[in-house]
Symmetry: C3
Subunit: 268 residues, 3 copies
Amino acid sequence: MVPAKTVTLLTDFGGADYFVGAMKGVLLSSDPEINIVDLTHEVPRHDITSAAFILLACYSDFPAGTIHLAIVDPGVGSKRRPIAIVLDSYAFIGPDNGVFSFVLDRHPDAQIVHLTKEGYFKANPSATFHGRDIFAPVAAALARGVPIGQLGEPISDPIRLEMRAECQRSADGCWNAVILHIDHFGNCVTSIPRETWASVVPVDLRIEINGQTIRKLRSYYADAADAHGELFAIWGSAGFLEISAFDDSAAQRLQVKPGERVRFTWRA
Amino acid sequence: MVPAKTVTLLTDFGGADYFVGAMKGVLLSSDPEINIVDLTHEVPRHDITSAAFILLACYSDFPAGTIHLAIVDPGVGSKRRPIAIVLDSYAFIGPDNGVFSFVLDRHPDAQIVHLTKEGYFKANPSATFHGRDIFAPVAAALARGVPIGQLGEPISDPIRLEMRAECQRSADGCWNAVILHIDHFGNCVTSIPRETWASVVPVDLRIEINGQTIRKLRSYYADAADAHGELFAIWGSAGFLEISAFDDSAAQRLQVKPGERVRFTWRA
Amino acid sequence: MVPAKTVTLLTDFGGADYFVGAMKGVLLSSDPEINIVDLTHEVPRHDITSAAFILLACYSDFPAGTIHLAIVDPGVGSKRRPIAIVLDSYAFIGPDNGVFSFVLDRHPDAQIVHLTKEGYFKANPSATFHGRDIFAPVAAALARGVPIGQLGEPISDPIRLEMRAECQRSADGCWNAVILHIDHFGNCVTSIPRETWASVVPVDLRIEINGQTIRKLRSYYADAADAHGELFAIWGSAGFLEISAFDDSAAQRLQVKPGERVRFTWRA
């Protein structure tokens, strides 16, 4: 990876406090040329799964060399490890608590390092704000070209979420997936990837979730305007099949949360 | 227009999702030197008129060459046209649904193009996220100097809002205007432009809105501190006459919404 | 101070309007290379003390030469003075209403100027939006190297808040401090600075606030997980001692607001 200057921030700090500003100040103090981009600071407090999904949904839209900082960190100050992950084109820095789990589902061979070299941290880091005192300084080091191997010790056992951003075929020919994310309109993002199936015209589609069966695949939201409240599937912009209901919350109608199982068959 | 590197974003995506981050990633992937500026992502969902006003209120504060992306797009995926508009100093990109209407009121001769050249879009654009897949890539093309004429076909019939950001004299000598916008304090921004009248000291001012008459023009908000609740007019920072009430919502007191008619006379 | 290109923004404008965009446009129109960083725009409306604390908590994380614009300005349009403050490494621009008070507590010898040279303002500034029409243009002038002395007249009587970001020893050997800030979790940030005491292991700690006494100093939040609701002290990330309660609001339990007195003794 060629080190580059774009650093993104994904946190649950909210926008009202000094925390985000402080992290940006630390990054710019290291290199005023760093291009800082906010993904969001509105992740629900301590919601690691939600942060993992947002990262998955947009990390690869960024230029090669981008460093993604993801600080949703309920265990700050405890023994949870600070880590960095390097792929061919991107690096990720944050706590080892599952926030990079979906990215690792796609890149099981990623290089992972436990950040132990305190020389790259701020001197006398606080026990309550590692985003500013550990993660931002390490991101700045990576951005100026320090090799990941100098930042700590290789590890192969990062914390993973139970959920996987993928689906698997079972012996009976069915596909098993999960609901990865529910957005604020109640759309349910499944782990069924568009790139595998989007070119197929499904016949006899059946998607089973919590006792209900969805059989309709629509092309646009507006296409469902004549069928208020009907549940349907649609290829969503994050690259996964979503379950939606026009002008209604699919999540409420299905009574589901992230992690819910999805069973799925069709003939191509 | 000399292409420049500032690109602004105005959307109704909210700040909690991956949508804004994804658009920024696409822009920076095309050119890491683009300077991305958020106008706001808190436009009320699908509120085209509100987005049109925010754009009008600040587009010209930016450096010449700025490209303004305005994505409030309830018709995404349907047949509404994607368009670009070029003035001497600024370009605008977004859906053809009226979001540029107030800018076009000021620049009726603007060059407008229906964006039909799919070679400038992301390959296999989604049906639900044209901000990322169509508008951001086209903005990046404009930013790197592609002439607007290469992006599509000229059109002269863009969708316009019924409201106009202007006022007109009627046969009886009265001026007719409208309420363009109501801000979150309840101030009512009219379409009466400051540049035409601000140097005038009005005599016998009468502003009629929904059966009530305002006769007072104040210089500062604090100037009204001794008259709680009284409706008054003030030259607002967006360049228009506003109707306000100290520590109260003028919109509630007048029982009005954007689009309401304003009749207006004075002697100079 | 060597002029540099980072300009931060701290306001109570909220994120939904055109105000922040307009200020950024004015800065970039002066110099497209200015690196604009949002501290926050979510300061509670007209809450000068809160803005003063946020500024104090992060201004020094930024690179030397950074210009901090702080626009919480209930008196806009009245006779309150626009001012600039210059330290060795940072400059501050905004209204003279106490918003820089905590910074001045640390730097009593700062150079302060009443911004009177209207040639550096926007022509015909509005009476309602000095952020765009006075403060942003003056920040742009400082950023391009205009010496502070050219921007106005030196003053030595800036408005100060009654609260001080410091603590003082009284005749009986006690230290007197105040609560500077209450964050949205209810943690109470006192004016007791970490740099003075953090290396001390306190014996017989007593912190008295509103009739209650806190005797416990903890290292991490999670360290208190076995003692729900117990009030304890912790060195916070803003550099001050904070009073917290695990999973509870310390401010509610103490029934205090910013400005509340804190009395404090220990043996080192």
